[in-house]
C-alpha cells in the first residue's frame, strides 16, 4: 500500500534539480527561455512526436547514445526550430558551446516550441544566458517560459509515501494549447522525480502513461513537430513500481485534461467514450474521429444536442457498426437507440442542459463487442479561428 499526497507549487518539490526562466526578448513580456538542470547527471526517458518532420531539438537528442545521462535541458518558446535542417541542429550545438563557458554541461538537451520555419536567434538566446541564475529553484519561472498560447500555467507535484515509511516525490510542468493531436498531444512536458526508478521501468511506464493520457486528447487533430514528454530521475529517494505508476498516471492524465481545458478557444471538455467495439483499435478510431470532427465540435460549441452528427461521424469513421445496435447518451440521457430513434422535447431539453456544463460525456455503445476507448476533446469556437488566423501577428 502507498499514499499519494498532493503538494503545493511545482518542481521545487523534487530535490537535486535547479530551474529558472528569463525573458530574452522574444516575448513582449513574460519568460521565453528557461532551463532544468542538476549537478549530478539525471536519467532520462523521453517520448517524442510521430511527425516525420521532427524538430531540430529532437534530432539533436537522438544523436546521443541510448541510455545517455544529461545534466541540462534548455527550453525556449516563440520559435520551434523545426524545418531548419542541419543548421537547426548545429545552432543547438553552438548555443551549448557558449553556455559551456558558464556552467559544466553533460550531454545537454534542448526543447523548443513556437513558430515553424525560422532559425533560432542565437545572439538573443546567448544574451539571455547572462540572466540565468543556475542556483535558482523557481518552478514558476520555467513553467511560464515554455507557455505559448496557453492561458494558464501547468504544474503538478505529489509526494508518494510507501509502506515502509520511505517516500519519493514527483513533480512536473507542461505546456499545450494548439496543435493538440491524435498521435501525441502537441506539448512539452517535463516530469522530475527523485525516485530510484530503473531506466527500463521509466521507459515502460512513461510510454504507457502517455498512451493513456496525452494520446487520448485532441484539440484540433494536428500533430506538432515538437511534442516532447520527458521523465527525469535523480535516483536519490525510494521507489516502488506500482506506486510510481499510479503517481505518473495521475500527473499525465491531469495534464492531458488541462491541455483540453486550455485548448485554443476551448470552452468545454468533452469525454467521447466509445464502448461495445469489436476491437480496441476500432474503439479508439471512432472515439478520436468524434473528438476531431468539426461538425461535432461546432455542435458542442452551440450546445445543440444534434446527435445525428455523432452517429454520422461514427458511421464515417470506418469502424464496424450497425444503426440497429448503436446507443448514444449524453451523460445519463439516452438520445438514440433503435427503440427511441427520435429525440423528444423532454430528452432534448435534458441533453441541452447537460451540454451547458463545462464538461460532460458523450457515450456511444456500438453493440458489436466489448472493447472501449475514451478520447477527450473540446468545442470549436470563434476564438479558435481567431487565435489561429492571427497566430503569428
Amino acid at each position: 500500500m502507498f499514499e499519494i499526497i498532493s503538494l503545493k507549487n511545482g518542481l521545487e518539490n523534487v530535490d537535486g534539480f535547479f530551474f529558472d526562466g528569463v525573458n530574452s526578448g522574444f516575448k513582449k513580456e513574460g519568460n521565453d527561455l528557461g532551463f532544468i538542470r542538476s549537478d549530478e547527471p539525471f536519467n532520462i526517458s523521453a517520448v517524442f512526436t510521430t511527425n516525420k518532420f521532427a524538430a531540430a531539438p529532437i534530432k539533436h537528442f537522438k544523436k546521443y547514445p541510448p541510455n545517455f545521462k544529461s545534466n541540462f535541458i534548455l527550453l525556449n518558446s516563440k520559435n520551434a526550430n523545426a524545418m531548419t535542417g542541419e543548421q537547426g541542429v548545429a545552432d543547438i550545438d553552438e548555443l551549448f558551446s557558449s553556455l559551456a563557458t558558464k556552467i559544466k554541461l553533460v550531454n545537454p538537451i534542448m526543447s523548443s516550441t513556437g513558430v515553424i520555419g525560422y532559425r533560432l536567434n542565437k545572439e538573443k538566446i546567448i544574451a539571455g544566458f547572462d540572466k540565468f541564475n543556475f542556483a535558482c529553484r523557481n518552478s514558476n519561472a520555467v513553467a511560464t517560459a515554455i507557455m505559448t498560447t496557453d492561458s494558464f500555467k501547468k504544474e503538478l507535484a505529489f509526494k508518494v509515501e510507501l509502506e515502509d515509511g520511505k517516500s519519493f516525490n514527483i513533480a512536473a510542468i507542461c505546456k499545450g494549447a494548439g496543435m493538440i493531436n491524435p498521435a501525441l498531444a502537441t506539448m512539452l512536458c517535463y516530469i522530475l522525480t527523485d525516485a530510484k526508478i530503473p531506466k527500463d521501468d521509466a521507459d515502460e511506464l512513461l510510454k504507457e502513461a502517455v498512451e493513456q493520457s496525452f494520446n487520448t486528447v485532441s484539440v484540433d487533430g494536428d500533430t506538432s513537430t515538437n511534442d516532447t514528454v520527458m521523465l527525469l530521475s535523480s535516483q536519490k529517494a525510494a521507489y516502488e513500481k506500482t506506486a510510481f505508476k499510479t503517481a505518473l498516471d495521475m500527473i499525465t492524465k491531469q495534464f492531458a485534461l488541462m491541455l483540453v481545458r486550455d485548448g485554443e478557444g476551448s470552452s468545454k471538455v468533452v469525454c467521447f467514450e466509445v464502448s461495445g467495439a469489436k476491437t480496441q483499435a476500432q474503439a479508439k478510431k471512432a472515439a478520436k474521429a468524434l473528438s476531431n470532427s468539426p461538425l461535432v465540435k461546432t455542435a458542442i460549441f452551440g450546445e445543440d444536442p444534434n446527435w445525428g452528427r455523432i452517429a454520422s461521424t461514427i458511421g464515417a469513421s470506418g469502424v464496424e457498426c450497425f444503426e440497429e445496435s448503436l446507443v448514444i447518451k449524453y451523460d445519463d440521457v439516452l438520445v438514440y437507440d433503435k427503440f427511441n430513434p427520435e429525440l423528444d422535447k423532454e430528452r432534448e431539453e435534458k441533453a441541452h442542459k447537460i451540454m451547458q456544463k463545462d464538461s460532460f460525456k458523450i457515450s456511444c455503445d456500438l453493440g458489436m463487442g466489448s472493447a472501449k476507448f475514451s478520447a477527450y476533446g473540446c468545442d470549436l469556437s470563434y476564438e479558435y479561428v481567431k487565435i489561429n488566423a492571427d497566430y503569428r501577428s
Copy 2:
C-alpha cells in the same frame, strides 16, 4: 473529334425528362420538395456515401435488383431520413403508395438531405404532392428544392457534338455546402442525359468521374449519411464514349469546385497539390490531410503564409517524406526548400498577396517519387463556426 458547347439553364436541355419543385412547408420560403421523372423508365448509375449509417433512401434504393430502371426520383431537403431504421424505409414506400394514385410509378427512388434522426413528416409531403405539376420542366424549381445551406444554385448543361454530325446533351443539378468530406463530398447530384450510353459505360464513367472530382474536395472532412450522385439516361440521342467521359468529367469537376466555393463559411478555394510522392495513395493522403487540417484552414482564412503548418501537416500525415527533399510553393512563389528554409520578407509579402486571392494553389513536392494528387479545400472561418453551431435553430 467532338465539340462541347456550354448551354444556358439546366435540366431543360435534356429531352425526355420532367422536373419540378414546390414548397411543402419545411422551409419558411423556397422549395423543399421536388422530382425528376420521365415517361419511359430511364437507366440509372449511382454512387453513394461510404458512411456505414447510409440513410433510408439509400437503403430503399439498394432493395431494387441490379440494373433496374426507374421513372421517378422524389427529392426533399430539411430532413435527411437518416438513422430512422426500418421505419424510415417504410415511410418512403408509404409516400410512393400515395404518389402512385396521382402518377404511374416504376421503381421510384427518393433522395433526402437535411437533419439526421427524425422521421419524415409524411402528411406534409403528401400535401405537397398536390402542388406538383408532372408536366413541368422547371430546372430552377428542382435545383432550389434540394438546397440546404447552399448560398447559390448549382446547374450545368452541355451539348456534345460528335464528328458524324450527331449529338447528345448532358445537364445536371447539385447541392453541397456542409459535411463535405474525404470519401464522397456530402452532396446530392443528378446528371441527366439523352445519350444512348450502355449501362456498363455509365457505371464505369460515373465511378471514375466521382473519384476525380467530388472525392478530391473537402469542406470539413465529415462524410454525410446521404451522399448521392446519379446519372440518368433516356437513351434517345447519340453516344460516343470519349466525348461522354469528357463532358461528364467537366460537369463533376465544375460542381466539385462549386461545392468548395460554396462550402459553409468558405471565402477561398485552395488547390492542395502534392507531387513527388512514392505512391498515388500517399499523394492523396497528404493532400487530403492538408485540405482537412484546421490549422492550415485557419491560416488560409487569416491570409498568413505560415508554411510551417503545411510542412507539419504533411509530416503528421504518415506519408514517406524528408525535410531535405520537400519543396513548398504558393502558386509560383517558393516558400520552402532546403536551400531557402527561411521565408524572407520579400517572398513572404509575395505569398501573402497570393493568399489574398479568391483561389490559389499550395503545392508540395515530396521529392520521393512521381505520384501526384490534387485536393481542393477552403478556409475555416468564423462563419463556418456560426453556421454549424446554429444549424438546427
